[in-house]
């Protein structure tokens, strides 16, 4: 799942080398923390948070398959 978010994020930003993704695994829920360059923050969030929402939707589909929960957090 970390891989998935990293891949999508890198495809969307101007500075792919500054994309950092961490997965904090819990018992049921894992938190995926995404960090991007300051300039790219807007691209990752999108208009009205649309891009972020789309990523979360895809993430939750992927985690349902694994019978888990995953939360995407975008760190500033």
């Amino acid at each position: 799942m970390k891989d998935l978010i990293e891949h999508i994020a890198k495809a969307l930003v101007d500075f792919p080398d500054q994309v950092e993704v961490n997965e904090v695994e819990g018992q049921q829920t894992s938190v995926i923390e995404l960090k991007v360059a300051k300039e790219d923050l807007g691209k990752i969030i999108g208009k009205q948070g649309r891009t972020a929402r789309a990523m979360r939707t895809i993430l939750s589909a992927a985690s349902t398959k694994l019978k888990k929960r995953a939360v995407l957090e975008i760190l500033e």
Partner: protein, 279 residues
């Protein structure tokens, strides 16, 4: 060819190409034997609705000398007014008018050709597969190019997850893929549609039948009905479905994600109103 009276006739159709085709059929000759003047180019209008028709004037060129192909080709110099596509030669134009009429219309406005479009879609397919692979979901994207508008079809075991509740996940995936695609700079501006297990087509059919059912209701009651908020693509389906439906009009109201289609009757039932006012 008729040599006695050469009259100029007007032809109207959705596109200049189609109008020319109609002219060819009417006079029973090839495009190169017609003198064509374009009156209006026509426009597609918003979402392909309410567009203006293209108008042309055409008359057959009467050959004074015996038919020599070179002279014939030199004649229709006036044709240069017509779009860039037609200058490419008769044969190519003929192919476009026939099999690919629809795509030609869509892509022509952007000045791109079919080959470029298909490359564009196959890049989108690649992006989709890269995302699907990493999601751990069983799904494989393929390009469907036989249709007028090429799209991507996903097959696999996890289609219900890929589609998601009310197509949410499929929409999200489509949105992300198109975002990535735009960054690839393919020189083509075309939103690629993702389809899985016939979901989009099924949804379209449902929307059309719902729209028709509600239109009948609106007509009968004389009261407008607003549909649920829908994304642009689905609103368009409703608008198109009711375009030819007599007695009702459609428009969209609201903003952003709460924008919805409203079906309104053309005639309000005055009698009912008056009665209510009198009471």
């Amino acid at each position: 060819m008729n040599q006695t009276t050469v009259e100029t006739r007007q032809f109207e159709d959705k596109t200049v190409e189609k109008a020319i085709e109609a002219a060819c059929e009417y006079f029973g000759c090839a495009k190169k034997d017609l003198e064509i003047e374009i009156v209006t180019r026509g426009s597609t209008g918003l979402f392909g609705l309410g567009g203006k028709k293209a108008k042309i004037k055409a008359k057959p060129i009467t050959p004074t000398v015996k038919e020599g192909p070179k002279e014939e080709e030199a004649e229709p110099a006036k044709e240069t007014v017509s779009g860039p596509k037609e200058q490419k030669g008769e044969q190519e134009a003929a192919v476009r008018n026939g099999v690919e009429a629809d795509t030609a219309r869509q892509t022509e406005a952007q000045g791109i050709d079919r080959e470029q479009l298909e490359r564009h879609v196959s890049i989108a397919c690649q992006i989709t597969n890269e995302i699907l692979e990493r999601s751990g979901l069983s799904g494989k994207a393929n390009v469907v190019a036989q249709t007028a508008k090429p799209y991507i079809n996903i097959t696999g075991d996890d289609l219900s997850l890929i589609i998601g509740k009310e197509g949410q996940t499929l929409d999200a995936l489509e949105y992300i893929v198109n975002l990535c695609l735009r960054r690839k700079d393919t020189g083509v501006n075309y939103r690629v549609m993702l389809e899985a297990a016939g979901y989009r087509e099924r949804r379209r059919k449902n929307l059309v039948s719902m729209a028709e059912r509600l239109a009948i209701k609106v007509k009968r009651s004389g009261k407008p009905i607003a549909l649920e908020p829908m994304p642009a693509r689905e609103r368009r389906i409703v608008h198109v479905a009711l375009k030819e439906f007599k007695g009702v009009r459609t428009h969209s109201s609201g903003q952003g994600s709460s924008r919805k289609v409203v079906i309104t009757p053309l005639r309000k039932k005055r009698r009912q109103r008056k009665q209510r006012n009198n009471q």
